[in-house]
Symmetry: C2
Subunit: 253 residues, 2 copies
């Protein structure tokens, strides 16, 4: 039995949800309400000591980290539609992109998402309440991120994050000028990673980067990814975010 | 034909060298002299636009990133002795540790290595020469690291790095109290990663953390890894580092 603990179909939760939908794997969905900080509650931290979604429970075995979950489903369900190229070189290309997304892209898009959305939430919480909330966050880095969200990300950090996003757009555009998908000829976990980590909405999140103008191959790729039935199915899962705060997907600035 | 471009048997170069030695794969070794900044020369940047070692050339196909090279050799040479657990859960554990080493460990040990060794080198270069050197480094992050090595890492960054290393020691010790190897019952790329990324010399690099006292399982694991014939073979490859500057491996403070 496959059980996935996840939040809205965005970012790391979307990454895992997309794998299930694309592979047509039936799973039990357990919604974790980040707006109520359920990911820091003791029942959840008992599942994942890092207090982060998504978490996969496969017959009682717990797998965390969305990139690892993606490869796990490939290894555990070889009969389901593959999301990993068949040849060793394709797999290496996929893993290079996964590393790039995880280490040089996701956190920088995320910083802008937090700056626009989580900062508003963090500031709406009364000071004593906020410290109690922080005390429950198991991961040092995550506590610091919440603290910074409240005090405000520095202009230097935000502009460095925009630079990293801009580098990513150039790299992806160059790749997609040569191959239809990031890892080569087949749609893979690399496309799912880049899409979920922010690629889905760069043109709306960073209008100043003029993605539509400078990255036509990326825009065509985006259209091809977004219209996939598995992607549509994942995106149509419930979204409990306050509509006024749906900045990560680029609906608002 | 397998050709590996690498530097001294330390850090990312050691990671790749260990995979070859453990798998008994014959390869042509091409030494890249980081002391002469060969990794930034045009012939090398043509191979790897990021200007970093190691680089694998397999019959003309170029694979970069040591973690990716490790998985590539598993996929491409399934008959050679495996460095990846056979079962999907073991592979997931291996990849979780690989991500942990790559994102939360390696760069922090590295900062201390740079603080103790590269800073001395960077300061020994005349200012105009140093700027010329920087101009040839393709990766923004690497340029900034060199600049900081010359001006000096901040106490706050160094102490945060020590904190990260300390967290890693605790996590590894907890794991090795339960299983003989990081990913479970078999020696894998995860052990190779942690060892090469700094695990080999934590007790010498950070005596203040008292690794020998607080992490007996890690110390026993270290003994088991270091005495493996493949590890010995990799460690005995030529080391051109100035002996007075061999701080990364912990020989000096």
């Amino acid at each position: 039995m496959l059980k996935l603990y996840h939040a809205e179909p965005r970012a790391n939760s979307l990454k895992a949800l997309l794998c299930f939908q694309e592979k047509n794997l039936p799973f039990q969905s357990v919604y974790v309400d980040l707006h109520k900080f359920e990911q820091h509650e003791s029942w959840f931290v008992a599942l994942n000591p890092e207090g982060q979604v998504p978490v996969l429970d496969h017959d009682g075995v717990i797998i965390t980290q969305s990139t690892v979950i993606g490869e796990y489903l490939e290894d555990a369900f070889p009969q389901a539609p593959p999301l990993r190229p068949a040849d060793p070189v394709g797999r290496a290309r996929m893993r290079q992109w996964n590393k790039f997304c995880d280490e040089h892209f996701m956190n920088y898009v995320s910083m802008h998402g937090w700056h626009r959305m989580v900062s508003i939430i963090a500031r709406s919480i009364e000071g004593g309440e906020f410290e109690k909330l922080l005390a429950r966050i198991p991961l040092h880095e995550q506590r610091e991120k919440w603290r910074t969200a409240r005090s405000g990300f520095s202009e230097a950090d935000l502009s460095n994050a925009t630079r990293k996003v801009s580098v990513a757009i150039d790299r992806v555009e160059q790749q997609l000028a040569q191959t239809p998908w990031l890892a080569g000829d087949s749609y893979s976990l690399a496309d799912i990673n880049f899409y979920s980590s922010g690629g889905m909405a760069l043109h709306r999140l960073f209008p100043e980067l003029q993605v539509e103008k400078i990255a036509p191959n990326l825009m065509r790729w985006l259209e091809r990814v977004s219209t996939r039935p598995g992607v549509q199915a994942a995106l149509n899962m419930p979204d409990h975010t306050n509509p006024a705060l749906r900045t990560f997907a680029g609906e608002q600035r």
